[in-house]
Amino acid sequence: MRLEKRSQSSRLALLLAPVGAVVFTLLVSALLVWWAGADVAQTYGLLLRGGFGSVFALSETFTRAIPLMLTGLAAAVAFRARLFNIGAEGQLYVGALAAVAVGGLHGGTGFDLPVPLLFGLMLLAAALAGALLLLGPALLKARLGVDEVVTTLLLNFIVLLLVSLMLDGPMKDPTAMGWPQSVALMGELELSKLVEQTRVHSGLLIAAALAVAVWMLMKYTVLGFDIRAVGANARAAAFAGVPVTRTVVLVAMLSGALAGLAGAIEVAGRTSYLTLDMSPGYGYSGIVIAMLAGLHPLGVVAASVFVAGVLVGADSMSRAIGVPTYIADVIVAASLISVLMATLLTQYRVRCK
């Protein structure tokens, strides 16, 4: 068997690749459902209904999609420049820490600033915290050639311990009866709900607007062009006069900021305080979402709703018939591998000798 490069790949094939990959994944995962002794059609039916089948289900799915959209954008931007940022999980948590530090500490006085200003300051602090956390690994990569994958992964563990430290000490909520949770944000800083009696909040609009902004940045600006050039071939880009190090650093700041915002918006929109289990791996799922979307910022919006739907649907299905919720993680991880293969098939054709 050998692979032969296609001279051009059709747009239709590029659009269909993720769909085909997901269908393939669902077929393979059906074996696991069957192994668990459940009826496959019923399981998938319940999963679909639990994720997309009612107003409540949709509201939960969209709520879950908000942080995923932002971590997905963080991964998409960075991967486009071949900066493998696997640290979105840690960046999300430092963003949440910064948000609580600005909007929750000081006895809830909020520096006596007007609310809109304080809100902006909170988001800025979160974005900056995420950006700075990725700046170190990006500089180490650019200056010393240290692989950013390992450093960002290790930083995730360090940050989680830092959060635990803060929740035990300076940010501890004294009224939480010993539960490790932070003080709450000022009530005025919480994001408003989009639909009455659901949890879906206006963070959805912020995330979607950022997706459009990132898309325009990538498509219409010089920086966007530089990012794509560095990702396509860093040496050729440098030869053509693209400031490679500067671009990598800017990409890192942008990617880290997006992930940091995910943390702030989660706190302001959903939990109102920070806990150690706030993110069930949103940072890692963001990578899958970015790949499913073919690293396209607008594709990230769709992919994050899909992944959120699978996660939410699996929770509700598991409560009903007891197939473990981990089936959702299997589906998400297997989708990543199948979409990699499907994308390859759009660029290469398989020849059997």
């Binding site: 692979l3 994958v149 390992v150 297997a334 990543l336």
Partner: protein, 307 residues
């Protein structure tokens, strides 16, 4: 300061160092073998989870302990086969497929655990490997046979890599695949073989956790050890002997932070001590960065006849 020397003077400290080092030695050798052949294997974290789970499950269902280790190695080899298919046959991004493999192997293991044990609150246990008290050497006698296996594999892998034709082929495809192909070496076969074998070692590293260090399977039990192995290989400049040294050094600091944490008058919050291993891994990466001599073809996919 006295406290510090008290810790070092206690043989049980050195027993702990060697115990902590064992899975790191096995995992680091696994990563080293893959990377020497030119392929990054970020699947290690997930392969260790899968090895820990399947090895333990086999013993729980009645297999002998070494049977469990074999099952873990086989699981690792199978997952390694998938990684080889993705990164060698299809020449996909080694970063992304490795991460995908970690996510998939972890999710499959947790799913399998929950399907097999739907409603348990305390994890079921097995009878793990026993200490080798017959072995009259202090510190080593308090270890299990898996530690001996890990220590034995270090010179074995060194011999294999530097003194045999197979080892030469592995290093060649990792340095210059075009030249290797010119010498009639099948790059795809050698790379795939190295990934499968290396991944089997990672599976055994996972099994050490459930069959020797502990006696049950827990969620999050691997806890970044796989990523630390990836860092240790860079620190060891891709040499088995230095890998052993790195793993021991790392285990020394890890054991030390555990003792300092327990020493009643801990100066710092316990989280600071727990951070130490991860911080040290990053520091180690930075320290060797300038003179790190990566295998030249590492992370470069090789497609026959394509430049």
């Amino acid at each position: 300061m006295n406290e510090f020397f008290d810790i070092l003077a206690n043989p049980s400290f050195w027993v702990a160092v060697l115990r902590i080092a064992t899975p790191l030695i096995l995992g680091t050798l696994g990563v080293l073998l893959c990377e020497r052949a030119g392929v990054l294997n970020l699947g290690i974290e997930g392969i260790m989870v899968a090895g820990a789970f399947t090895g333990w499950l086999a013993v729980y269902s009645g297999a002998p302990l070494w049977g469990g280790v074999a099952v873990a190695a086989l699981t690792g080899a199978l997952l390694g086969g998938l990684h080889a298919f993705l990164t060698v046959t299809l020449a996909l991004s080694q970063h992304v497929s490795g991460l995908g493999l970690t996510l998939l192997a972890t999710a499959l293991s947790y799913y399998g655990y929950r399907v097999s044990f739907p409603k348990v609150n305390t994890p079921p246990t097995v009878q793990p490997f026993q200490e080798m008290s017959w072995l009259g050497i202090p510190v080593l006698a308090q270890q299990t046979p898996l530690t001996l296996l890990a220590l034995g594999l270090v010179p074995l892998l060194g011999y294999l890599l530097y003194r045999t034709p197979v080892g030469l082929a592995v290093r060649m495809v990792g340095e210059n695949p075009q030249a290797a192909e010119g010498q009639g070496v099948s790059v795809a076969a050698v790379r795939s073989g190295a990934i499968v074998a290396g991944s089997a070692l990672m599976g055994v590293a996972g099994a050490f956790l459930t069959l020797s260090a502990f006696n049950a399977f827990f969620f999050n039990m691997v806890n970044g050890r796989g990523w630390i192995c990836v860092a240790l290989v860079v620190f060891a400049s891709w040499r088995p002997g230095k890998a052993l040294l790195g793993a021991l050094l790392f285990a020394f600091f890890d054991a030390l932070q555990l003792r300092l944490q327990q020493a009643g008058d801990a100066l710092l919050p316990y989280q600071m001590y727990l951070m130490l291993p991860y911080v040290l891994s990053i520091v180690a990466l930075v320290l060797v960065a300038r003179k790190a001599s990566y295998p030249q073809a590492l992370m470069k996919p090789y497609r026959k006849g394509e430049r």
